[in-house]
């Protein structure tokens, strides 16, 4: 069974509390978004421990096991001598301590935040005022995609399932793919192997997922 949980978003109107559905291709996509959302929402020190324990590959492999499209998960190579401090330094250097993960460097950030908040609102969520991240943070956006996939899997309404699927494509186009590939290309060039692995995996996944969703929607 797959259970979704949201870190940066709140349910504003629909069901509250954990909901379980049978695992399938769509919950797998939700789980992968959940994995990446969790990664970008986690403190560097905790992330390093997980990497060292092999949890990154294991976690992503498990999440992706039912994916309906090919997604190669490369190995994580923890450099000799690396520790939490060096990872945190790389994280800080590459991602600005998380600062680069919000807004995609847009000139009109205020408008972007308003736009994504409205997206969340229309689909039954609210950006939590108590959340530690802004509404346009990468972790929040991935959280939203996790939610959309889950709702597609959970709803008994074919009409609503299509609506959630369309929303995934549109949100990827308007709010993820318009800045994440650039972030990965620019930040990833100088990244160490751990941060670089994550960025590469994310870029590959959102690209493949976009193609898959578009195909299911007929273009």
């Amino acid at each position: 069974m797959f259970t979704y949980s949201l870190q940066g978003l709140e349910l504003s109107a629909a069901e509250a509390g954990p909901i379980e559905v049978e695992e399938n291709e769509t919950t797998a996509r939700s789980a992968v978004y959940q994995f990446f959302g969790g990664w970008f929402a986690t403190a560097p020190a905790d992330l390093f421990d997980q990497a060292a324990e092999g949890k990154w590959v294991a976690g992503l492999t498990e999440a992706a096991s039912l994916l309906p499209f090919g997604f190669a998960i490369g190995p994580v190579e923890v450099p000799a001598g690396a520790d939490a401090a060096s990872f945190a330094a790389d994280h800080e250097r590459v991602l600005g301590g998380g600062a680069l993960l919000g807004g995609g460097g847009r000139a009109d950030r205020e408008a972007e935040i308003a736009a994504v908040r409205r997206e969340y609102e229309y689909f039954g969520l609210a950006a939590s005022d108590a959340a530690p991240r802004p509404a346009d943070h990468l972790a929040t956006e991935l959280d939203f995609l996790q939610y959309l996939c889950f709702r597609e899997a959970a709803t008994p309404s074919p009409r609503l399932a299509t609506s959630f699927r369309r929303a995934q494509r549109d949100f990827l186009d308007a709010h993820v793919l318009d800045w994440v590939p650039g972030l990965v290309a620019s930040a990833g060039r100088g990244a160490g192997p751990l941060v670089g692995w994550t960025l590469d995996q994310l870029a590959a996944f959102v690209s493949a997922d976009r193609a898959y969703v578009a195909e299911r929607l007929g273009g």
């Binding site: 109107a13 409205r118 229309y122 689909f123 609503l160 609506s163 369309r166 929303a167 494509r169």
Partner: protein
């Protein structure tokens, strides 16, 4: 000069003595911010403009010209716009602008006002409304429905009216843009293609329209069609501006267009120029009619318990055969078009039946071109030329809204549609009839059905609609989605707020006296109008919508952007003298001091386009949702309608609670919750404002397939407008009966012609024979010519009208730029012959009068108006005339009794659709010079 161009020496542009320099001039066209804008001009366009502002003020606007080409080889729609839109910003600071809430302190119409606070204004309105709810019920609270001002101006007051259980007077019944003849023929009235389809026509008939004045953004397609080789024919009594650019001008006597069209039909049939296959598949002409009764042969005639709505044709091989109801495809059937035949009825008697075509041929016997020429004034040779021109070619009629405003405009339209039918001219590119052009924006239509925002609620409502339609389809498996959509709308209407104004006007506004004057009505009526009206009500043809009832006088009237004092046929006597005394409170929400505002008790200032977000009413002409942004804050204390009516809802709730009126029952015995009005209005705060509401509409429309996926206000703000991807789930979108493709012009009725989907008429075919007993009594079962009734009395001149070039309705009458493009005052346009006969010279004052009333204005003498005709263009405010008496003083506003028919297939009320509407064309008048010293100032 571009921004980077070098400026000339300052002295080159200086104006000596004024202190103004060339730099001052240049600074006029500088800006800090650019937003999108469009206008609420009531012109069936939503032209994207760029709005340039600086220092919190709009500096200027310009046509954007950003519409992508659609179809290869077809000109694009750019630049879209006209001088009216280009001068919009001048109106922001117009002297007639209302900037603060105003309360009348003198007699109504005295012009004495005091400025009050919003709180005071809302409290006063709320007090009046609550008193009425308590004493008379919500039916005594009446709103004039409007399409003016855009969707975000309309939706808030409709929402409040629905929550109150009040009455909203149907906008089309008020303004009369209803193409009744199209509805009688096709079962629907919004049959327009996109305007680029004009380019694909071989023949364009400008018939009852003057697009050079009224369709400026689209007019280039007519010129471009001519370059392509199309022939343009202007059919009009006067040599209007559109006739100038035509290949052929056909001067028809006012009100006789049906005779002209029917004579063309006669030639087409006599010379065997007609499209037999089209007639067979698309029309009712093959159907059988009983010679003894004049009624269609129905299944129930043939066997006991037979169906009332199954009709018949005569198959060459199989004889008498039921006509298919689920498709227009005749399959192997080969209907015989010429009778008579003999059939045996259920009781064993034999009767003769003939086809509708038989009856039509017989009927057209009196419309030989020579006979018709004597009626319509068009030479027989020209009639034949026209008939030969339209046969075998792609013909499109550009109609506009003039035809429906004739008393017998329905007969004219039915005759024009018959021309198209016989020549196979709809449902193919470059054909059809272009009139009312409504497109359904699903999100807007869903709005009132949603109890919370968001996509899940949208899905719930749409799933509910699907289920309801599935249930209805079980009862009628042959029904199309369009028909089921109409049924659903009829159900909603019976419990909604919409009401055809004819009953309101008859019972409460003094029209009973006028409409019961037989000498101003049709001579084939066998009893007074009032008897027909009561008969229609007694038979339940208008069940649930004839509101407020005769015993419930209205007490509070809201007008939101409408202007009945300018618009209402019948003039001041109907409103000021008859209706107004019944009203406790007249509340006007407007951005300008209209003629109605001048007669109000309270005037509430509304924000204008450029001061608020809005979208225009979606139309098929351009098939785009056009967005207007807030370039500047509203001037003064102006507010948007959302702000006004959400605040009013809360204030009414507070007032109701204060007087102990937490709940009340409406006339339908539905309990209304006054105490909850505020929270019901904005769903407990979930609708946080109008931009969020608009975003819901846009996203819901995308979800329903009307707009592209990913559509949002954000995208509108980026692109200015969005092209539709479909026509939606609801009427009226479905009535266009066409797919929307991103690389094709959209041609209405393709589903009927290409997919053989039946029409939503009684016979499920384009119906030219209406066998309702009232139509039979009137001799109008087939399209026919009738002379216009002598509305106004026995006078020698015929008054007609039309929209002017410089404004649609009165909205531009305070625009100093537009007023400067003409004489800036009302004009009576008449012929040189008539003027000379009356001793009237160009520019003098004249008095126009008849038995109904009189008005005075300046005369314009011209050679382009035919003798016997007088034109007063539409839109002048009454206070632009002497004594505030305008052209509607001479217009009785007669309505046609046959339009009271209901429960006959497609002849039933749906909002904006089938209903009696007032006529104001072909009113009979006399014109006389006003003695020196009297009349208008010059």
């Amino acid at each position: 000069m571009g921004e980077g161009d070098a400026a000339p020496p300052a002295s080159a542009g200086d104006r000596p003595g004024t202190g103004a320099t060339a730099d001052d001039y240049r600074s006029r066209w500088t800006w800090e911010r650019v937003t999108w804008g469009t206008h609420c001009l009531n012109c069936l366009a939503g032209c994207p403009y760029r709005v340039f502002s600086r220092d919190g003020e709009v500096a200027f606007e310009e046509q954007a010209g950003t519409i992508d080409p659609v179809a290869s080889g077809v000109p694009d729609m750019n630049p879209l716009g006209c001088q009216k839109g280009g001068a919009w910003s001048a109106q922001l600071s117009s002297e007639d602008r209302v900037l603060h809430p105003l309360r009348r302190v003198g007699e109504r119409g005295s012009g004495k006002w005091e400025q009050i606070t919003w709180e005071e204004a809302l409290a006063e309105v709320a007090e009046a409304v609550v008193a009425v709810l308590d004493e008379d019920g919500p039916e005594a609270v009446v709103f004039e429905e409007s399409v003016e001002g855009g969707l975000l101006a309309q939706a808030p007051f409709l929402r409040l009216a629905a929550l109150l259980g009040a009455v909203t007077l149907d906008a089309n019944g008020l303004v009369n843009d209803l193409p009744t003849g199209q509805h009688l023929t096709f079962g629907k009235f919004s049959c327009a293609s996109t305007v680029d389809d004009t380019f694909l026509a071989d023949v364009l008939l400008l018939w009852h329209s003057n697009p050079a004045y009224t369709s400026i953004p689209y007019h280039h397609f007519i010129s471009e069609a001519r370059y392509r080789g199309a022939q343009v024919v202007a059919i009009a009594p006067d040599y209007n501006a559109s006739a100038v650019g035509s290949d052929l001008y056909v001067p028809v006597r006012p009100g006789t267009d049906a005779a002209l069209a029917l004579a063309m039909c006669r030639v087409v049939l006599d010379e065997d120029l007609w499209d037999r296959q089209f007639v067979l598949t698309q029309t009712d002409l093959p159907l059988l009619v009983r010679s003894d009764t004049g009624r269609y042969l129905r299944q129930r005639d043939l066997r006991a318990g037979g169906d009332e709505e199954t009709f018949h044709l005569w198959d060459r091989a199989g004889g008498l055969t039921a006509a298919p109801r689920g498709t227009l495809d005749l399959g192997t059937l080969d209907p015989v078009l010429e009778g008579p035949f003999t059939v045996t009825l259920a009781d064993g008697t034999e009767v003769e039946v003939v086809t509708v075509l038989d009856l039509l041929r017989r009927h057209l016997g009196v419309y030989a071109p020579e006979d018709a020429a004597a009626i319509c004034g068009v030479p027989a040779s020209t009639i034949r030329r026209l008939a030969h021109l339209v046969a075998g070619r792609r013909v499109k009629i550009l109609e506009g809204f003039n035809g429906p405003k004739y008393f017998h405009g329905d007969l004219m339209e039915r005759s024009m549609c018959l021309v198209l039918a016989l020549t196979g001219n709809w449902g193919r590119p470059g054909t059809g009839i272009q009139g009312l052009a409504l497109a359904g924006l699903d999100g807007y239509l869903l709005f009132s059905m949603k109890t919370r925002p968001g996509v899940e609620e949208t899905a719930r409502v749409l799933d509910g609609i699907d289920q309801a339609m599935a249930q209805m389809r079980k009862r009628d498996p042959d029904a199309t989605d369009e028909m089921l959509g109409n049924q659903l709308l009829a159900l909603a209407t019976s419990s909604g707020t919409a009401a055809p104004p004819v009953f309101f006007n008859y019972h409460h506004a003094g029209y009973d006296e006028t409409w019961n004057r037989p000498e101003w009505s049709d001579p084939t009526m066998t009893k007074p109008f009032g008897d027909y009206l009561r008969d229609a009500l007694r038979r339940g043809w208008w069940g649930g919508v004839a509101r407020p009832g005769a015993s419930t006088p209205p007490r509070v009237l809201f007008t939101v952007g409408t202007n009945p004092m300018r618009r209402a046929r019948g003039g001041r006597a109907k409103l000021v003298d008859t209706l107004w005394p019944k009203l406790d409170k007249v509340v006007v929400v407007d951005f300008r001091m209209s003629a109605t505002a001048l007669q109000a008790d309270l005037v509430l200032p509304a924000a204008m386009q450029y001061e608020r977000v809005n979208v225009q009413y979606p139309i098929t002409h351009m098939l785009r949702l056009a967005f207007s942004d807030a370039a500047t804050p509203p001037r003064g204390e102006a507010r948007t309608e959302w702000e006004i009516f959400s605040a009013l809802a809360r204030t009414i709730a507070e007032r109701a609670v204060a007087v102990g009126l937490d709940e009340y029952d409406d006339a339908r015995r539905q309990t209304r919750h006054a105490a909850r009005l505020g929270e019901d209005f904005d769903l407990g705060g979930q609708l946080s404002g109008e931009e969020m509401v608009l975003d819901e509409w846009v996203r819901d429309s995308a979800d329903a397939g009307t707009l592209p996926p990913g559509s949002s206000v954000e995208r509108l703000r980026r692109d200015g407008s969005i092209r539709f991807t479909g026509l939606g789930t609801f009427a009226p979108g479905l009535s266009v009966a066409a797919d929307v493709r991103d690389d094709e012009v959209m041609t209405a009725f393709r589903w009927h012609v290409e997919q053989h989907l039946p029409y939503p008429t009684l016979t499920r075919r384009a119906q030219f024979y209406i066998d309702h007993p009232w139509f039979l009594e009137a001799g109008e079962q087939l399209p026919t010519h009738k002379e216009p009734p002598r509305m106004g009395g026995e006078y020698p001149l015929v008054l007609t009208s039309g929209h002017s070039r410089w404004t649609v309705h009165s909205i531009g009458m305070g625009n100093r730029h537009l007023l400067g493009t003409h004489r800036g005052r009302p004009l009576v346009v008449m012929s040189e012959e008539d003027a000379a006969a009356r001793g009237v010279a160009e520019g003098e004052k004249v008095r126009v009068s008849n038995d109904h009333g009189a008005f005075e204005a300046m005369v314009r003498v011209t050679g382009r108006v035919r003798p016997g005709q007088v034109i007063v263009y539409n839109g002048f405010e009454p206070h632009m005339f002497r004594r505030w008496e305008g052209a509607n003083e001479v217009e009785p506003g007669m309505v046609k009794w046959l339009h009271l028919v209901g429960k006959y297939g497609h002849l039933r009320y749906l909002p904006f659709g089938w209903q009696p509407v007032p006529a104001d064309r072909a009113v009979f008048v006399e014109v006389a010079a006003v003695p020196a010293g009297g009349g208008v100032d010059r």
